[in-house]
Symmetry: C2
Subunit: 350 residues, 2 copies
DNA sequence: CGCACAATTGAGAGTTATCAATTGCGGTGG
DNA sequence: CCACCGCAATTGATAACTCTCAATTGTGCG
């Protein structure tokens, strides 16, 4: 049920409006002068305000002007309903931000249509702009294609292998969108050991956590092969997120997914054997980087990288790989790893 | 620079409008008939549309009606600028959702004021409703007090020690807000070992990750002491987040912070000695649960819990605690732990 | 061919987990 | 008031696992 606040000094006119609106099933509140009207608006937050222009204590224009200074009231439409038919008055009302200006005499249907139109407009606007209103509806089909074309016109940087993209502790100025290549995000502990906490390839965003948290980067990112990355300026990112609820939802979901994935990894790191962790890393890499067009999936990654992903040392990792090799779970050719028996790897993790 | 699309068939009138608006530094686009106008609007997404009513191929009302069916166009204000001065026409235009209706003849200043007023209105609205527009401004002072009063009227459940609150794999129906007590979130690995991945006390939210991701819970939560928790139904949560950008920002920040914290914990779990992990856990617990009103901070927590927090076994944890005890870093009285030398703990972590 | 660097292997040390045994403590019933 | 039960905390001995440091082998490339 929508609510309407009526501000009208003349009791006869007021009663007529009340009657019409109540018949149409609106929740109706009334105020008899400008001051009362403003106060009730602030208190009750109606869905719409109908106000006369000529009012004791504070006129309709004054009410509107005051309301426009309150951020939480801006979205409430105000319709002037008055005997002032001078063009000058009408223009002034509209320029102050009125949603409509109806001159007397008006018919019941004119009033109802105007009220309904404004409420509907707000409702449509809300559904469109409000974050998460569509959280369950939003689909991300063909996301990559759409985003690629969107960001191709932006600044595109090329990074060589081992080049840093951003560094822990710095302030974020851009959102990064990977067009091609592979990038790792890692953290270093006090002994100088790296743990890879994220991997990105074509179609992934990077750096949004720091932007959304409004804080410094908490990880460092580096290209692990030659990569092309589109840079979206911070302001544009916020603009994008602000105006497109589907994009906001996208990032919220990414954050939530990251969270779950990290929690699962924490359990692994805490309690699982190296064997399990390596198995899990291999499966993760296959899942992340497998190109579906080839039938074979061959991993060309140096041992230190792989160790950092598994949270161990190069030597321990190599021993585990040798084990897998003797067990015919993987084959190693010139350092390149091919998964021969995926099911055995999966079985290890139960 | 704001952009305006002008739809007007009469070239003389059109040129006059273009001149006025260009002088006022607007980016101006023009269309000479209704079809062209609609197409340009869809393509260019101007900040405002000025349209005549009587147009070839598709009249102004038709354009507006079509635009109102497109979610992305709803927020663009359309002003009718026409010689039709019939009340009926004016009402029809406004009822369709026009932002303003200006009748000829009009002055330059009337036009400019109307345009400016509408653009300003959209801008203000955007700043208010749009998510993250205020990301840098939003403060959360007295958050707990405000939220407590907000949620006190909701369903409040009491949980006894060791009672489950929600379980991994189930579907989220509520957002949980902790009024009092302490709760842990944990995950179990295949061998049945638990790792505590989150701790909550009064003023914390739980369960939002699953809600925002629109997926099942990925952790299990259990009260570690008697607790009171307000349940906010799923729909209300979405309503809240949709209508209050500051609340949306709050949850986004929570997600982002969790992410960073988990990444840091992962590095610890992967490479740091048990000693360091236990030191870090003790400091974390002090930070999380310290009541500022007492001068002493005493931890009453069973050894299994503490082990799950540190990612180790009960026995190993106890040995580490004994070491800390002999080194006079902590004291243990009837199982309760008091931190004697916080600086030594911090020094361990470098 | 030889250099530079990555990958692998080896041996031993260090850390943590496991399993079993013991101690400590609060509560209960005689 | 005291013995005893049940459970948590602690200690002990040993095994398992992973790391460290050093040495060796393999590979790509000029």
């Amino acid at each position: 049920m929508y609510s309407v606040l009526i501000i009208e000094a003349d009791s006869e006119k007021r009663e007529r409006i009340v009657t019409i609106l109540e018949l149409a099933s609106y929740q109706v509140w009334v105020a008899c002068d400008g001051k009362e009207g403003y106060e009730k608006a602030m208190e009750l937050h109606p869905d719409l305000i109908l106000s006369d222009v000529n009012l004791p204590t504070l006129d309709g224009f004054g009410i509107l002007k005051l309301l426009m200074t309150r951020p939480e009231m801006i979205s409430i439409p105000l319709i002037f309903l008055t005997g002032n038919v001078e063009r000058e008055d009408i223009r002034r009302g509209m320029e102050l931000g009125a949603a409509d200006y109806i001159t007397e005499p008006y018919t019941e249907s004119e009033l109802l249509n105007a009220v309904e139109a404004q409420i509907e407009k707000v409702e449509r606007l809300k559904n469109h702009t409000s974050l998460l209103a569509n959280v369950n509806r939003t689909q991300f089909n063909n996301r990559k294609e759409k985003l690629d074309t969107l960001f191709k016109h932006k600044i595109v940087n090329k990074y060589k292998k081992n080049q840093y993209i951003f560094t822990e502790g710095n302030h974020p100025l851009y959102l990064f969108y990977v067009l091609s290549g592979k990038i790792k995000a890692f953290k270093t502990n006090e002994d100088g050991k790296d743990l890879t906490v994220g991997l990105y390839n074509a179609g992934d965003f990077m750096g949004y956590t720091a932007l959304l948290e409004d804080d410094k980067y908490s990880v460092t990112t580096m290209a692990i092969e030659a990569s092309e990355i589109a840079l979206i300026p911070r302001e544009e990112f916020f603009e994008l997120v602000s105006n497109h609820s589907s994009i906001a939802i996208l990032f919220i979901r990414l954050l939530a997914k990251n969270n779950n994935h990290k929690a699962a990894q924490m359990v692994q790191l805490a309690y699982d054997s190296l064997r399990k962790r390596v198995a899990s890393t291999l499966l993760f890499l296959k899942d992340k980087f497998d190109k579906q067009d080839k039938d074979k999936f061959i991993l060309d990654i140096n041992r230190t990288e792989l160790a950092n992903l598994s949270g161990t040392t190069k030597e321990s990792l190599i021993r585990t790989l040798s084990d897998f090799h003797t067990e015919k779970i993987i084959s190693i050719d010139h350092g390149k790893i091919e998964i021969l028996d995926e099911s055995k790897l999966k079985y290890m993790l139960n």
